[in-house]
Symmetry: D2
């Protein structure tokens, strides 16, 4: 209710602050009997880890995860899985200036108005560092969903600042610092180097997908699958827009082209992005999100201080000049958590259902 638990049947409760002793989460609702160790989780954490290229924050965190509960003799027991990540590289003194004024575009002011006090060290609770436990929880969900349903989650960058990035191949994604689906990212590197030098930041657009999603996931009226995806995505730090399938392009489409034809061999197109009436169709889930430019920048900005007087704010500390760069594994994890929750919800009510019709393939061969 206070907004730190994600999901209902696969419920992840997140805790910690950027510069506190530790961050982590408790997963409640993981099915029992699945083999699980830290080695299943660490690779996903490593994908979003800071300090791995010059284009992201230089904070050095190992992000080493420890399983504190819920696993016995290498298997999940069905009881809560607590995942703990110790913070190790805090530099809280960088935030003395930020504690006295509000960064434009940052949560500083909103937190103070809500709580009457705030933890300014590294953004405290509002830090994107809190996505690490979600990536860890997502890894658990991904393992189960892949083992049981063959579901796979992938993401990539579609746009960096003004630069559109064409889709070439998923194979390129793990081979560059940007999660870009292209072979040559040198122009992206040049762009980022200039931006960093200018003390500025930029936005990004990220695509995330899921394949082999069974039809029937999602509740019809409010906890629609696409609504829950939108909630999860908009809840990622700095996200300002979410599209499913054709998204905003569907405004200019006609009904005769937008509706995806069904054939015995599969869906002919995927304007739906895998969801109709809030329920999965078996098509791939296709989501695109907009990430705003980082608000913590070296360029001075006009603002007010904690006494309400005009002030200029320069943000020191170590920050991502484009938070979108590390957003891909986060968006994948969030999508996995939504799908996981809906798989469990679906079978609660519909475990006995035998649809009279076999699902058709996700797309034409």
């Amino acid at each position: 209710m206070s907004g730190n638990t994600f999901g209902t049947l696969f419920a992840v409760t997140n805790f910690g602050e950027s510069h506190g002793p530790a961050i982590g989460c408790v997963i409640d609702g993981c099915p029992p009997g699945m083999e699980l160790s830290e080695a299943d989780i660490q690779p996903d954490l490593d994908r979003r880890r800071p300090g791995t290229s010059r284009h992201v924050t230089q904070r050095q965190e190992e992000d080493k995860v420890e399983i504190l509960s819920g696993v016995y003799e290498g298997k999940t027991t069905g009881t809560p899985i607590c995942l703990l990540i110790r913070n190790t590289d805090q530099r809280s003194k960088d935030y003395a200036a930020v504690a006295q004024a509000f960064r434009p575009g940052h949560a500083d002011y909103a937190y103070l108005q809500k709580y009457g006090l705030r933890d300014p060290r590294g953004g405290g609770r509002s830090s994107a560092r809190l996505t690490a436990p979600m990536v860890a929880a997502g890894a658990v969900a991904r393992k189960w969903l892949h083992a049981r349903h063959g579901i796979q989650f992938r993401g990539c960058m579609q746009q960096l600042g003004e630069i559109a990035i064409p889709f070439e191949s998923w194979d390129h994604v793990p081979r560059n610092a940007f999660f870009a689906p292209i072979a040559d990212v040198s122009h992206l590197e040049t762009y980022m180097d200039a931006l960093r030098k200018a003390g500025d930041s930029c936005g990004a657009r990220i695509r995330v997908t899921a394949t082999n999603v069974p039809p029937g996931l999602g509740e019809p009226l409010y906890d629609k699958l696409d609504a829950d995806i939108a909630w999860a995505m908009m809840g990622i730090n700095a996200v300002k827009g979410v599209e499913i399938g054709a998204g905003f392009a569907s405004v200019g489409q006609r009904g005769t082209t937008h509706g995806d034809s069904l054939t015995p061999q599969g869906f002919a197109t995927n304007n739906a992005g895998g969801v109709l009436g809030g329920i999965s169709t078996g098509q791939d889930l296709e989501i695109s999100i907009a990430i705003k430019p980082t608000s913590s920048i070296l360029s001075p900005r006009d603002s007010i201080d904690v006494q309400g007087q005009p002030a200029q704010v320069v943000t020191k500390g170590r920050h991502d000049p484009c938070v979108g760069i590390r957003a891909t594994p986060i968006a994948e994890a969030m999508l996995a958590l939504v799908v996981m929750d809906h798989v469990l919800r679906h079978r609660a009510q519909n475990a006995d259902v035998q649809p009279p019709l076999q699902p058709i393939p996700a797309s034409l061969p």
Copy 2:
């Protein structure tokens, strides 16, 4: 949990089908002591009512609301408010063909896969008719939010199919069938007449705003105000995209321009759309949504039948050629319900908080 309750502290449970005897909702959590009668609710219902112009479905429903509980001597008692709307103009025979095949772009197929059976009459539970109880519940929230906080919700059309609609004035919105903020809508009427004649449909883009929203609403990590708004908006039938503030345009912005400067006289701009770190800032909430073209159209479409064989589908019955036309009052109501819930949530935890700083105005004078 099965997706028919909206909200947590101001919880609206929706029931009914398009062609069943009645639709309605139960509001649980309305503060006691507010004057309330059907007359407070009916005007909002009338704004979304079908059959009011030639550009929307010709189904004739009075959408007359009856308060069944929760009000005593004209005042809310704090107990559940049941709102009932009887269906009166069903023509279920129109759906015989639809019962045998799946409309491309419609929930038909997904419902069958989920539940093993479906109610094809008017789309059953997947019908946009189920937004009527939400508009009714929204009217209750709007009354309370206006009386207590002066919050006001407004919406308008920004785009109809390929036609962008500039913003001229809120005054025009109630004076045309499109909720368009322009004086002359004759080109929109010509466009819709042609579309209807062609047996086709189109999408729309809708803007919805809230003013006088107090700062501090929204939970920081998952039930962020913008995340819950995205959830509510994506949950409206046919919505495929949601933006807050600058939305997808923020991808191409720099940090030096995106972050809204704070001044003692107010925020200088509103790229944030009223939310930072998931928490309201006091700026106006600014949301934009994409609505896909109606899937129930007269033009024949390729699909499969309930035996999985190829089939052509033509949708008879009465349908909106652009569901976006009636979406404005729905989006306003959904936004009001989200804000209402967060006002109650906020004071549960933070009723005692005295922020050390007075809120600054929403915008420069």
Copy 3:
């Protein structure tokens, strides 16, 4: 959150007041494909209906239930089932005196303190009349649980005021007005007649059981099956105590006698009442509840009025001299709703579990 929804996956939202136009509930989460009509529900409602003997309230309500949604062609669709019961025999003028003062032992005072206003007609929302929609919802759960698992719910009276009632046979229960498991209830009738004549009321003790409950229901730490049963039972109007299995007698037992021995042929005893560690064992659920005497009585009581001044209160209107008499079908329904919810919850997380050991019988042959 505001306390009018019962259950999580089989969620029943209750609305209405004793003297409002209607009472009812919305069931969200009923599995699809079950045959359901009003005829499945009415018999249970008739068992708790008022006016059926001289020992209960003389208010005449048909309690005729109408299914407003969620059923198509005689089968549940998986969407919300709204059940409506119109109130027909209100006599609100009887409550003029009660509106001016607080009945000792009644919710009057607590409601006023909570909400600042109250509906005094028939107790408004605090009336036991609101158990009717729960009995209706319980009938839906019972039908599903019986069809799918063979689970059966039964209850009977164990004590009426000072009179202990021995258990003779379930067969007697439907044959008398008291749900007493004895052949001859004349002494109970004499007792009640004297009590009514004296303008007084008495308490009762009710036993409720479930048989054929599969093992594994209940969550281990907080939503334990017995905890949820206690919650459901204590939530019935006028209940002041709940026991599972040996209950308070277990305080004086030794470990060597309390723990029920397991044998390949079944459990040897049932001190557990069917629950160990919060999880069902397959033994019968055995619950006993204490119901206090009715607070609305003709004998004058010392109290205060709404100005806080001393006052004498006499309750006119029509009331049950022992609310416990009609509590048996209510307690059965509440137990059924708890079990239903846990069956659905269990399979969400554990649908794939194959216990290495076949369940043993509930009891020795």
Copy 4:
């Protein structure tokens, strides 16, 4: 949903196993701005700590709590408070026998049926050790409730096995190992020594109260204050019965005596136990619970093994011969958590309510 979160607005998510590396909880919803350190929590943990007398388990755990998040510069921030307690004195080898058979009266069998596997070390998740994090969370709630409302929670033992314990004074409670409100506990010590020597165990009855509870707490229909208390109490390990106020004695009372008279000077009696219609009246909350004898005993018991064959079970390891002895601080904490949640819930909906009548005192002077 999987039963490891307690509460809704003051939500405590519990994790860990008896012999895992750590146990703990995450509190979500604590109001911001309250001074909090480990020193506020440790004293309550010390009251329930094992190994403090010869009458309880000899496991030596310091139960030292560490605050991992949610506190900044000594004050709560309104974000999740993670409390961690490392396990230090596990002796898992004691459980080799228990892993092969089911203890009568223990959760062993139910867990295996539910999850298909179980952690036998110290009872795993079913261990009463998991009440430690609840006592820690309760300490946080108690501090806030006392600071803001002056609410005080107290408990004591009322019966040990067959021995009834009269109430003499709260002052005696902290001065003996039994939380007994009597000066001389030598007969209790003799009783326990004999029981331990016999390899047997016994039950207990515990009373728990709250004073200065404001009227108006509790939701009317299902989340009644007394229902939630019953849920919390029945959820404590080994509890088999719960009473509020007069409890089971109310069955034999008449309406003319049970209903507590109201006077301008206060309530005349407290048969209600502080709750009417599910809502607090301002009277003291009065609860009594029945705790069954420990199932882990040295005396051999008839049971079956994991192959379903007859077996005798003797429980080694270190166990409380009467779990009721340490239950008093646990029951106090659970009551505090229920009250805390309802205080927050109440003000969400009713923060603006001004009752027309000042509350009357809890009892006559």
